[in-house]
């Protein structure tokens, strides 16, 4: 297997693209800051108004069209109350409308960073567009980097950081695309993406080069690409967990009649129950992929070193991270841990992941040859 020469022109294009992506992310970040600031006015009470108007629409149409089928389901909520979910289907159109209302259940989800301010909402939409544009530039940069050496573009810390940041933004965009109420996630994601890219460009940068033979394996492509995807998703879950902890504290203090800080901000976040569930879902969905990542790594190690598992520090910390996430899932599934207790576990697991990526490479030397900073 002979490797192509490094295409310096493409490598340069990749560098320009990463700077452009960072510029666009910065703009997106400012737009999000504006969104949060403008949205501060009057974001709270309006939701219920919107809801009731929706309900009215449904009732009206129910009265108007004959043969409408409508069901209201009572759902027991976490805090001991109930919520309702209404599903309406017009007999001929076949379409169903769903409205979910809240009974006396827990607090409702906030509307998002824009509150009910239209200007803020517009800026927020711009921020989303900018984030998507930044992501495209970012992706183009990663691809150009890969093409410049005709290999998977994650052979060293710089490349891995870029890919990881990309996956993080992608996780956010995917959540948005699946109609999840996650606009609030935009600001932390862009800020951290900028941070990671900043460190990557300023500290970890290495010229586009070929890899040592130990890294020539298609398992590298599989192992590392799934690892970056997991990283991005774990990160999204991490931010959600943090938001959960803040919001939960806020809700509790509010309920207890204590003073609360940043009420305006907090009100626009989803309800703590929603955040708790979201972070759990992300972690649960990505856990099998993380398992696969470790196994792919083991298969690669078998081919390269003759042993699929040698307790090399990177392997060890992947294992620790895996067990930590397994413990988290276990705690939720079997021990009924929920809320704060589970959230601390999730944070711990993410800390292990983070240490595996940065800490192990910097503080511990192992066989993973790309680990050099």
């Amino acid at each position: 297997m002979l490797l192509a020469q490094v295409d310096t022109q493409l490598a340069n294009i990749s560098n320009y693209l990463i700077y452009s992506a960072m510029t666009v992310y910065t703009l997106a970040m400012f737009a999000q800051i504006f969104e949060w600031t403008f949205g501060a006015k009057g974001g709270v009470a309006v939701r219920s108004a919107r809801q009731s108007s929706l309900a009215e629409t449904v009732t009206e149409s129910a009265e108007a069209a004959k043969g409408v089928r409508k069901v209201t389901v009572t759902v027991a909520a976490q805090g001991g109350g109930t919520t309702t979910l209404t599903r309406t289907a017009l007999a001929d159109a076949g379409a169903t409308t769903v409205t979910s209302g809240r009974g006396d259940g827990g607090p409702a989800d906030g509307v998002g960073p824009a509150g009910t301010n239209e200007k803020a909402d517009l800026v927020g939409r711009m921020a989303v567009s900018l984030t998507v544009l930044g992501m495209l530039l970012h992706a183009a940069s990663v691809i150009a980097r890969g093409l410049s050496v005709m290999r998977w573009p994650w052979g060293n810390m710089y490349e891995f950081s870029c890919a990881f940041a990309l996956m993080m933004v992608a996780a956010y965009v995917i959540l948005l695309a699946t109609k999840k109420n996650v606009r609030w996630l935009g600001l932390p994601v862009t800020v951290v993406a900028l941070l990671i890219l900043g460190i990557a460009v300023a500290v970890l940068y290495t010229d586009s080069e070929q890899l040592v033979p130990a890294l020539h394996s298609y398992w590298l492509g599989i192992h590392v690409s799934t690892a970056t995807i997991c990283g991005g998703a774990f990160f999204a879950a991490f931010v959600t967990t943090l938001a959960y902890l803040l919001k939960d504290r806020y809700e509790h203090r509010l309920a207890a009649g204590l003073t609360v800080r940043a009420a305006n901000l907090m009100e626009r976040l989803p309800a703590s129950g929603t955040l708790d569930k979201l972070s759990y879902r992300i972690n649960a969905v990505i856990f099998p992929l993380w398992t696969f990542t470790i196994i792919a790594g083991a298969i690669w190690a078998e081919a390269a070193w003759g042993k699929y598992w040698e307790w090399d520090p990177k392997e060890t910390w992947s294992f620790i991270t895996w067990v930590a996430y397994a413990a988290y899932l276990h705690a939720r599934a079997t021990a009924g841990w929920r809320g704060r207790k589970a959230a601390y576990l999730a944070l711990l697991a993410f800390a292990c992941w983070l240490f595996n990526f940065y800490g192990v490479n910097i503080f511990i030397t192992g066989k993973h040859s790309y680990a050099g900073v």
């Binding site: 490797l3 043969g67 069901v71 976490q78 080069e209 040592v212 307790w311």
Partner: protein
């Protein structure tokens, strides 16, 4: 009881115990031992060990216990361990006692995972029986009070109860629910694969462990340096070193051999990473069994081992062997051939020793031995006054051999095993010129007349060698199978949701039919509600709602407000993804 019970269900668990246990997890009971005696304590201990709380604790401990092994060098890397011990003499004995250099085979690490697996067995086997029971049984009948179920809907209809029941059976069947046979109220369940996935995952962990255990009990590996043109057959006498295990010793080596026809290395020649390897290829001819007649060609590369006769041959290092001819004082050839020098850095600066045991007699007529100590440099630096002899590029662009010479007793006959790569010069003197150690820097083809008439040495050329690791590791396929099963099981366990749906139609006092549908999922997932709503809407094709739809505040006597239901205790689990 503790918070660890999985099967907590809302509602009247008292009068419908069967319905409420959707989970098949064994029930937990941590009351202290009943009665006295060893048996009571054993039973108590066993219950503790197989409880979820202890399983969780052991999982934590396992990840904690793995940490020291990543911080302290492990004995799989003896050089690092030795360095560390030298640098921390004071604390070394304590570390040794704590087995910190062998964390992953230490007593305490083993204890944790063995306990974990015992706990797992104690948990998973009963779960399996229970699940088999569940599969054999019909979905449990509807509980008396459906309003207390986590999701609930109701409406009045003009259709007859039997009609509604039949329609519901049809509908749920079409949605691939398992519907209890019979007539009357409908009970249906779906998502059994979740439990299958969960059991598969936990069983797969055993397969993984088996694979690990097999590998560590029945594996062995050795290394061998082979010169270009040289052959190798897989026996202990030929291996440079060998580590076996309980069931794989030196007599069990797989029979095969190979001949290294050539070795090529390619390096980056420019840029900041110049000198970084691009590829290493060893071209070999190999045979299986003792008969070397039938040979096949193969390439061994990094990441591409050769599989032969139950072993794998990995290419793990390469280097050079300078070829020299040594003549003694009488000008007789006393040594000729390649000598392996071991690389010290990434540019293959290779220190080495050439020992001439059969030198004969020196210029003074006394019997003596001769040795050279020096470096082979594939691409010598132009000047090494400050650095000592070093190579600046890993390929042989300007190969040099730097040597100094010793005469005296090599002490090879002392009976002690000697490292061929090191010189024991305790009984030797270095040859000198003008009172300074004599040394020479030879190009290929050049020679050196040794001082004091000790003869000469010529640098005839060099050969490359490759280092191979021959490894026999069974159990890989078991471990791989376990890993694949674990992933499949996880996907089933995490993405599939198990839920039950009941439909009951009864004639209300006012003569109309009251249709009640209720659902119970293993998580507080809103999707159960959505699914139930969909089913209810579809059911209204056959049981159209009467004009006044009873919501939660509909027919108040039938549907008490659910606010007081202990719904918080809905069993929980990951969400479904369908």
């Amino acid at each position: 009881m503790s918070d660890t019970k999985t099967s907590l269900q809302p509602a009247d668990a008292a009068d419908d115990p069967d319905v409420e246990r959707l989970s098949t997890a064994p029930e937990e009971n941590d009351t202290a031992p009943v009665g006295i005696g060893v048996l009571g304590w054993l039973r108590w201990f066993w219950r503790q060990l197989t409880s979820m709380r202890v399983a969780l604790l052991l999982l934590f401990l396992l990840s904690l216990a793995a940490i020291p092994g990543s911080l302290v060098p492990q004995s799989t890397n003896p050089v690092k361990v030795a360095d560390w011990k030298n640098a921390h003499r004071g604390i070394t004995p304590l570390y040794e006692k704590l087995q910190l250099f062998d964390v992953y085979s230490s007593v305490w690490f083993s204890a944790i995972y063995i306990l974990l697996f015992v706990s797992l067995a104690g948990c998973i086997l009963p779960r399996t029986w229970q699940f088999v029971g569940v599969l054999r049984a019909q979905p449990p009948a509807a509980p008396r009070n459906l309003t207390r179920m986590p999701v609930y809907a109701a409406w009045h209809t003009g259709a007859a109860p039997e009609q509604v029941d039949a329609a519901a059976r049809r509908l749920l069947g079409k949605r691939r629910f398992r519907v209890a046979a019979g007539t009357g109220p409908v009970a249906a369940e779906k998502g059994y694969l979740r439990e299958v996935g969960n059991l598969l995952f936990h069983f797969a962990l055993f397969a993984l462990l088996t694979g690990f255990a097999w590998a560590s009990l029945d594996s062995g590996s050795g290394t061998k340096i082979v010169l270009e043109g040289q052959g190798y057959s897989n026996t202990t006498t030929q291996l440079d070193d060998f580590t076996g295990s309980r069931f794989y010793g030196i007599d069990d080596l797989d029979a095969f051999g190979f001949k290294l026809d050539g070795f090529t290395a390619e390096f980056q020649t420019s840029g900041p990473a110049a000198g970084t390897a691009k590829e290493f290829v060893a071209n070999v001819r190999y045979w299986e069994g003792a008969d070397s007649g039938k040979q096949k060609n193969a390439k061994i590369e990094v990441n591409h081992p050769l599989e032969v006769g139950g072993s794998k041959v990995f290419l793990t290092a390469h280097g050079f062997a300078p070829v020299v001819t040594v003549r003694n004082a009488k000008d007789e050839v006393v040594y000729r051939g390649p000598t392996v020098f071991l690389p010290r850095d990434s540019n293959v600066t290779s220190p080495g020793v050439i020992k001439v045991n059969d030198y004969g007699t020196g210029p003074d007529g006394e019997k003596t031995q001769l040795a050279f100590q020096g470096f082979f440099l594939p691409t010598a630096a132009s000047d090494f006054t400050h650095t000592g002899p070093i190579s600046v590029f890993p390929a042989a662009a300007d190969p040099r051999l730097v040597l100094s010479a010793y005469v005296g007793d090599l002490r090879t006959d002392s009976g002690l095993p000697q490292n061929v790569y090191e010189l024991d010069n305790k009984a030797m003197t270095q040859l000198q010129v003008d009172g300074k150690p004599a040394a020479v820097n030879l190009k290929v083809g050049e020679g050196w007349d040794l001082p004091d008439g000790y003869g000469s040495v010529t640098f005839d050329g060099y050969q490359q060698w490759a280092n191979f690791t021959v490894s026999h590791r069974p159990g890989n396929s078991v471990a791989l199978l376990g890993a694949v099963a674990a992933i499949l099981g996880l996907i089933g366990s995490l993405f599939i949701q198990r839920r039950r749906i009941w439909v009951r139609a009864v004639t209300a006092p006012d003569g109309r039919t009251l249709v009640e549908v209720a659902g119970l999922g293993r998580s507080e997932s809103a999707r159960t509600a959505e699914e139930l709503a969909e089913i209810a809407v579809e059911l209204q094709d056959d049981a159209p709602a009467a004009d006044e739809p009873p919501g939660p505040d509909g027919p108040a006597d039938d549907v008490p407000a659910a606010a007081d239901s202990p719904a918080a205790a809905v069993p929980t689990a990951p969400e479904t993804k369908e």
